[in-house]
């Protein structure tokens, strides 16, 4: 991945795709890469900061941003404000405003209601990037907490210590949360650690498990089924609905892992419990 997550994203087109009467996807690309994902998060921040009335959800994925709104409250004014929020200057949608929800979904040209208009999103100022501090997640690697670390090491042709060193050396970006409340999909995994998912998924993966699946690494927020390789476990609580904010990690956050020993895991687990 040549682009650092902290770098300013390049100017880029994105497309507005109707998903449902109350949902739009803003599409910035089609693949999994940090540059595209950074643009998704920049747009999400711009929309959150604009605090548009009627928009209930602004949910980033790898290359797309999901917007959900109240279709009955959606007005011409809301569309214009969405447009303004996405551009500090001027944003044209083929000469017409985004307008009412229906207009976004029913493009008159080409007769294809699914063909969305290409919009131009100017580069957000780089100062908006990396506002949050890096979240450091302590991990006890290997042993009972990371039963697959030797399999990962073998696949990578590395020693167990090298796996830990490379996993802790990288800086990751929370590309998106999904699968279960608070499950972070992290981009930035060292290429040598990319390992295909397990042939047979586990029916139970313990809460806090740090895992590798393909080019991604993630953390299981609670006990779940899972097919990723488990390399360690964090004592931090990833998700607690009674906590504000409920999730340890938010989309766009930067993350590092820090190796800890079993005794520190035990001490921290007690404190978090």
């Amino acid at each position: 991945m040549p682009t650092a997550p902290g770098g300013a994203p390049a100017m880029a087109d994105f497309r507005v795709e109707p998903l449902a009467e109350d949902a739009l996807l803003l599409r910035f690309g089609d693949g999994i890469d940090t540059a595209t994902n950074a643009r998704v998060h920049a747009a999400a921040r711009a929309l959150r900061d604009a605090d548009l009335p009627g928009i209930a959800d602004i949910a980033p994925a790898y290359a797309t941003l999901l917007l959900r709104f109240d279709p009955l409250a959606w007005t011409e004014d809301a569309g214009v404000r969405l447009e303004q929020a996405l551009s500090p200057e001027r944003l044209l949608v083929r000469g017409r405003g985004l307008g009412e929800g229906a207009n976004i979904m029913q493009k008159t040209d080409a007769g294809d209601s699914r063909t969305a208009s290409p919009l131009t999103l100017p580069s957000p100022p780089s100062s908006t990037m990396g506002e949050r501090e890096i979240v450091v997640v302590p991990v006890c690697y290997g042993g009972e907490y990371g039963p697959d670390i030797d399999a990962v090491a073998e696949h990578a042709g590395l020693s167990r210590d090298d796996v830990i060193a490379r996993h802790t050396a990288a800086e990751y970006t929370v590309a998106m949360l999904g699968f279960a409340p608070g499950f972070p999909y992290l981009l930035g995994l060292d290429a040598s650690l990319h390992v295909p998912r397990r042939a047979t998924p586990r029916t139970r993966v313990a809460a806090g498990s740090v895992a590798i699946g393909g080019a991604q690494t993630g953390i299981y927020p609670r006990e779940l089924p899972g097919g990723w390789h488990l390399i360690g476990r964090t004592p931090r609580v990833l998700f607690d609905s009674a906590r504000e904010p409920p999730c340890l990690l938010a989309p766009g956050d930067r993350v590092r892992f820090r190796a800890i020993e079993a005794d520190e895991f035990a001490r921290r687990a007690e404190r978090d419990a």
């Binding site: 449902a20 996807l25 790898y62 999901l66 949360l177």
Partner: protein, 320 residues
């Protein structure tokens, strides 16, 4: 006011209008699957439209009311017995303290809503009293009702127990056509379907499979195929999304669907028809009919006007 769960029924959950605003944290909305039925049950109890009620699935619960209460049941037709006596759905029903309320087996459909005056008083989780069984989130730690649970509701403000002599006509709110027809908006990958599959999607009947739930309804029908395999990364999902996994058998997402997913999208069930989807159970048949976004939005607005009129009318009758 307390209600004790004597029998929980097959799958009875506390639901309100849902939990918007947390999709970015991997948390879906959940909420009542048949949203208009929840609103009508609430209106019949004089509640705000988004008050917390019970969503009942196929086989109803048995509840003991320890205090006087007004209740109402709307949605799929289900026998409602108060101390053994049959009482009407779609109407406010007064329940005396010490009474047992028994809901039977649905005659058709899949989901009914039992509201109590004041709404069930459970602590909101992330701003909502909806249960998300799949995410293990919400009241009762995200689980369905169990025998012995004690639910609280606001005490009845007015003691009036005078029985009402009216009930709503359920027909606009519970269509029981033998084969449901759902309006389908075009999905991102509809055009990538083989031409024959595009035709089959709208010409053939699909049947709901047994392993369907509030996450999604698995459908079986003609095998649908793409011209070429569709490669995509995980993207935002919403209820009503019709995905096509490699099996060629579509899945229609419900209120507990994941907030993101990586299967191709062939369609989106019109929001106005989600209430019809909610009433489909295993072996029920459905068809899709193509629909444009403008038409779907217009139909949704029309239904909203009708619902609002109904709620206003009910409120007037309750205060008369």
């Amino acid at each position: 006011m307390t209600v004790e769960v004597v029998k929980p029924g097959l799958l009875t959950t506390l639901q309100d209008a849902g939990r918007p605003g947390f999709a970015h944290l991997g948390i879906g909305r959940s909420g009542a699957f048949d949203a208009p039925a929840l609103r009508i049950a609430n209106a019949l109890c004089g509640n705000p439209s988004d008050a917390c009620a019970l969503e009942i699935t196929l086989l109803g619960p048995t509840l003991r009311f320890h205090d006087d209460a007004w209740i109402a049941v709307a949605g799929a037709p289900i026998p409602l017995r108060v101390d053994g006596a049959e009482r009407p759905m779609w109407a406010p029903v007064f329940v005396h303290a010490g009474t047992t309320v028994e809901l039977g087996t649905m005659r058709s459909g899949c989901r009914s809503y039992l509201a109590v005056r004041g709404g069930f008083d459970v602590t909101p989780v992330l701003g909502s009293r909806s249960t998300d069984v799949n995410a293990q989130l919400g009241p009762l730690a995200g689980r369905p009702l169990r025998t012995g649970d004690v639910l609280k509701a606001q005490s009845v403000a007015r003691a009036a127990s005078k029985p009402v002599s009216w009930r709503l006509d359920p027909r606009p709110w519970f269509p029981d056509d033998p084969v449901a027809t759902l309006r389908l908006l075009p999905g991102s990958h509809f055009d990538k379907l083989k031409e024959t599959s595009r035709k089959l999607l709208f010409s053939e009947t699909f049947v709901v499979q047994a392993d369907s739930n509030r996450v999604g309804l698995r459908l079986s029908g003609p095998k649908l195929e793409f011209d070429e395999p569709v490669e995509m990364v995980s993207e935002g999902c919403v209820p009503g999304l019709l995905q096509l996994p490699p099996s060629g058998q579509p899945i229609a997402f419900g209120p507990e669907c994941p907030v993101s997913g990586g299967y191709p999208r062939i369609g989106q069930i019109a929001a106005v028809d989600m209430a019809r989807l909610a009433q489909l159970k295993a072996s029920d048949a459905l068809r899709f009919t193509p629909c444009a976004f403008d038409d779907a939005l217009r139909a949704l607005r029309e239904r909203e006007r009708a619902l609002t009129r109904l709620e206003t009318g009910i409120a007037a009758r309750l205060t008369a």
